[in-house]
């Protein structure tokens, strides 16, 4: 699993947030555009690209994009 590809795919789920905002240390739940709908898109992206299941707990406990990457990577 490539961290940069994950970061890019993560960023692509947002429509209005500038791509330059997204770094591994971005606290994604603090972004204005973050919503439960975006969360569902992220779950779908991880399912499609990595064939892995993100749970509600993963999303609640991860703070940065890197945290989420690590959780997906460990599955």
């Amino acid at each position: 699993m490539d961290k940069d590809q994950f970061l890019q795919a993560f960023a692509e789920q947002f429509d209005e947030t500038d791509l330059s905002v997204f770094t591994p240390s971005t606290k994604f739940k603090e972004l204005d555009e973050w919503s439960s709908m975006v969360a569902l898109m992220i779950i779908a992206m991880v399912d499609e690209n990595y064939n892995k299941k993100i749970t509600g707990a993963d999303l609640r406990e991860a703070v940065t994009i890197e945290d989420l990457f690590n959780r997906v990577h460990a599955k």
């Binding site: 569902l40 779950i43 399912d47 993100i54 749970t55 509600g56």
Partner: protein
């Protein structure tokens, strides 16, 4: 692996009933307008039907059953089995609602009647149960009633579920049929996910207390009371997009069929984003996958027959219907049915 085949059984008729009262999500006053618009766009529910205080699931199911029995002219004395699949019974603990319905429908006292408290997977489980009873040829007909007044269990200010669930009841007649290939099933359960869709208080694990009605707001800003519905939308979404395609594929591989061998695939109406993911994963064209979600919301165990009644009434009068039906949700529980069924009589949708 629960791959099952019940020979000599046909589905012969389907009907559905919804309350007349329409709730439009665009008129929702609890949530910000932008959130409501995003919900309607992504989840796909514009409006749903809401049963009044005095209307129970059994009332919707009895009306659907009366219509179907009248339309098909089936002799009630031939119905040997009545199964009521619902999580909104007339009485919380006893007696079973199916017993009350046996009397209301004036079915024979020689009828087996019982409740099965399943939700979104319940239509498939109910069909499987009735098919198992009928295929031995010891009774002629079975009546499956499914549905919920699901709009009554979310806390009204809970954004995760109060705009999603609608109320409906449906009736399905099955019969012993020596000429039929029968019904093919894949059934599954994963109770490790039981907290993904749960009403935490009010049963025997956590008894109803004075606090059960007290609202609180969780870390995600969702307001609920302990005896209202707690839906973990993320867990359910993750489950649905992964397991629903898998169960369909498992059954299709087992039967050595492809999407070409399916005229219509009717899925539990969970959420448009989820259902579209499932459809695309299975490479099913849009024309084969009908929806009732937009006007009726997620109607729990009634969603598959309600979609058939509202979207496929004419189509199912064809002499042969190759159907894939798939239900998935609370439990977690899921199941898929494939049938090469003869023509199915579908009643007009009724409202009460």
């Amino acid at each position: 692996m629960a791959l099952l085949h019940n020979r000599f059984v046909s589905i012969t008729g389907i009907s559905a009933c919804v309350p007349g009262q329409i709730e439009k999500n665009s008129e929702n006053s609890f949530f910000p307008e932008g959130d409501v618009k995003a919900f309607i766009h992504n989840v796909g529910v514009e409006e749903f039907r809401k049963a009044g205080e005095d209307t129970c699931t059994s009332d919707l199911c009895v009306a659907a059953a009366e219509k179907l029995l009248e339309d098909t002219g089936v002799d009630r004395s031939e119905i040997g089995l009545l199964v009521f699949v619902s999580q909104s019974p007339d009485y919380y603990f006893l007696p079973n609602t199916a017993c009350i319905i046996q009397d209301r429908l004036k079915l024979s006292k020689e009828t087996l009647a019982f409740d099965v408290p399943l939700g979104c997977s319940g239509y498939i489980y109910g069909l499987n149960l009735i098919a198992a009873f009928l295929s031995s040829g010891q009774m002629k007909r079975g009546l499956l009633l499914v549905g919920d007044t699901a709009s009554k269990i979310p806390y009204p200010k809970d954004k995760s579920s109060s705009m999603l669930f609608g109320d409906a009841g449906a009736a399905t007649l099955l019969e012993y049929d020596e000429k039929a290939d029968g019904l093919f099933f894949h059934m599954a359960t994963d109770g490790s996910g039981h907290k993904a869709i749960i009403v935490p208080e009010g049963g025997y694990r956590n008894r109803f207390t004075a606090n059960s009605l007290t609202a609180y707001t969780n870390e995600e800003g969702l307001t609920r009371s302990p005896n209202s519905l707690h839906l973990d939308g993320f867990d359910v979404f993750s489950f649905g997009i992964s397991e629903a395609p898998k169960t369909c594929k498992k059954l299709m591989d087992h039967l050595k069929i492809t999407t070409e061998d399916i005229d219509f695939a009717v899925f539990h109406q969970a959420n448009k984003m989820m259902n579209e993911k499932i459809r695309k994963k299975l490479s099913l064209p849009e024309t084969k996958v009908p929806y009732s979600l937009k006007h009726f919301g997620n109607t729990s165990s009634a969603s598959i027959p309600l979609t058939i009644v509202t979207e496929l009434k004419t189509a199912l009068s064809n002499p042969v219907n190759r159907l894939l039906l798939c239900g998935f949700g609370v439990g977690l529980s899921w199941g898929t049915l494939y049938t090469n069924n003869r023509s199915i009589f579908v009643s007009d949708l009724i409202e009460i």
